[in-house]
Symmetry: C2
Subunit: 351 residues, 2 copies
């Protein structure tokens, strides 16, 4: 039996449970069911008890049903908050979440949280928020290739917007993302303008879409400037010690500048430089990515790419509201440019 | 006219607007008003329109009224999210917020956000969340002396819990806080055990309750060890450059260790040490406060006091639920211990 594509309550066979179905099963009038929900003191206790039991048994969700009838909206936007990973320099999601709340508030909506488990995407929290609180839509972050959430929500006709692409040709839905490739391209532009030619890239292991995107920008800018990329690329998990080890061969090969896929990787470069008595404000230029709070506090301050998180939050709300207003419009995707924040870690190469 | 102490909707004269009052004004039965709200398709359009207009005019909030009757709960906890201040090392509130969401979820509640304006506490967001979404209670953070929120909520009979004390004898309500004095006391204990005697304190300007509390722990531990505190205390706003300047006289006066009221201030000490060719892992010990993400990434890694934010989130939810269950119970206050995270910035003094 096909699932309903318009109701997001746990689908009963053939569609959502209605007030009329509850009334029939309980042997009362629809008015009595309505009263049980909204004016229980008008009913005799036995009747109230019988109707409530029937509601529970059938899994009837009155306000969800009301929403399906488009008589009201909960004015709630659901968002799964993830734990900040330990050992990264990049707790930037709180800035995003504040921007999201602010944009939602301005539009008459509110952000309703659930705690997302660490690791992969989960559908459970989304299902509960739909079921218990009638959210009008969702903002998804940390989207991945083959992320199950978009398809799951789309099937149920629930509006959503992703912060992050799905990275798949068969992707559904609207998203807002930051153009990582454009950011690392701009970093290479800045470094070549300073006179650098041996510009390396320290990225994450291939297969992470965000990481591959950031690598791609470095690659294309190098190609444009006819600079060799062979032997100038290394990879590391997003941890300082691993990044220090990974950066060493790049420095051995004579790189005068390193573009890193994250501030954490950039910090690994700092440590690799220190190990050899060099410094990122004198000997080798280092560019990070994320403009994490740590970047400003390093000595020397880290030149890095800042994600426009306030704009991402605003755009997420704008796209979500547009989707609610017009469920059948073609998907809208917004790619925002990161900006290069110049600090002290990008000197010109030695003359 | 005294305000109602049990309703949190915008108070009408003499108490909240009821369904019966709306019915009387609109010239219809209470059942018709209930239908207008819950089964509008049962009414003729003219009747529906008239009832809706009356509802708007009188500011009737059906679900709020229902909650006042204790027939249902929204299962929502309101929380005002603040923008992360720029230029601090300490964006720790996202960890708190995840912990809060997780604890709320586990108890069948959800956290509903509104964007709090930067600066002082505001009542507007709280009022809107009560009015529009019927939240069952609030968690308040960044509480201050003479914070208007607690009194405002208490007057309306709305349950709340503060993350942070009110620091006033006339405080109302429940709170959870971190014992800052106990943290800096533990820092001094650690330093004296290493052999330090000339232990300075770099704090915020007096008058900030959190800052004064952290200063107090240093002071009492110094007194317990019969160590002099005169000339060993300096103050700075929470910014690295200001802290560097403020730390200099402490170092001039021969301090072998500095306990700082925040990681940002500790970082100022790092810079002050570097200026004089000294280092926090060799010459002078430095202890921070907050265990911000930056602390682990500094070179050397910063010894600092970690706030038990997960426990704070859990306790906030526990106290709030207890308050909802028993509005007249005496206030409960929970003070949690920070823990000293040892890294490389606390060497023993030179022999």
């Amino acid at each position: 039996m096909p699932r309903s594509t318009t109701s997001s309550s746990p689908p009963a066979k053939g569609g959502p449970v209605t007030l009329a179905m509850v009334a029939r099963r309980a042997g009362v009038s629809p008015q009595t069911v309505s009263n049980a929900l909204n004016a229980p003191d008008l009913l005799r206790p036995e009747t109230l008890e019988r109707v409530r039991r029937t509601i529970d048994e059938m899994g009837y969700r009155p306000s969800r049903a009301a929403q399906t009838l488009r008589t009201r909206s909960s004015k709630l936007i659901g968002y799964g908050i993830r734990p900040t990973p330990a050992g990264t320099t990049s707790p930037v999601m709180d800035r995003f979440l504040h921007a999201l709340s602010q944009a939602a508030d301005a539009a008459g909506y509110r952000v309703l949280l659930f705690a997302s488990p660490p690791g992969g995407a989960s559908l459970k929290g989304h299902e509960e928020l739909l079921d218990q609180h009638d959210v009008d839509g969702f903002v998804l972050s940390d989207t991945e290739r083959n992320d199950p959430r978009q398809t799951w929500l789309a099937k149920r006709g629930v509006p959503f917007v992703g912060f992050g692409r799905m990275w798949s040709k068969r992707q559904v839905g609207d998203w807002v993302d930051v153009d990582g490739a454009s950011g690392t391209d701009a970093a290479v532009e800045h470094l070549t303008a300073l006179g650098h030619r041996r510009i390396a890239f320290l990225g994450w292991p291939r297969g992470s879409e965000v990481g591959d995107d950031r690598a791609e920008g470095w690659q294309r800018a190098m190609r444009r400037h006819e600079l060799p990329t062979r032997g100038r690329r290394a990879q590391s998990i997003d941890a300082v010690d691993a990044a220090r080890a990974a950066a060493t061969p790049l420095l051995d090969a004579g790189a005068t500048a390193v573009v890193a896929a994250s501030d954490t990787l950039a910090l690994g470069c700092y440590h690799a430089l220190r190990e050899r008595g060099a410094a990122p404000d004198r000997d080798v230029a280092v560019v990070g990515f994320d403009d994490s709070p740590t970047a400003a506090f390093l000595a020397p301050g880290l030149t890095t790419l800042a994600q426009p998180l306030e704009a991402v939050g605003r755009e997420c709300v704008r796209l979500l509201l547009a989707r609610m207003a017009n469920p059948t419009a073609p998907p809208e995707r917004v790619l925002l440019e990161p900006s290069l924040v110049l600090r002290d870690s990008t000197p010109a190469p030695d003359a």
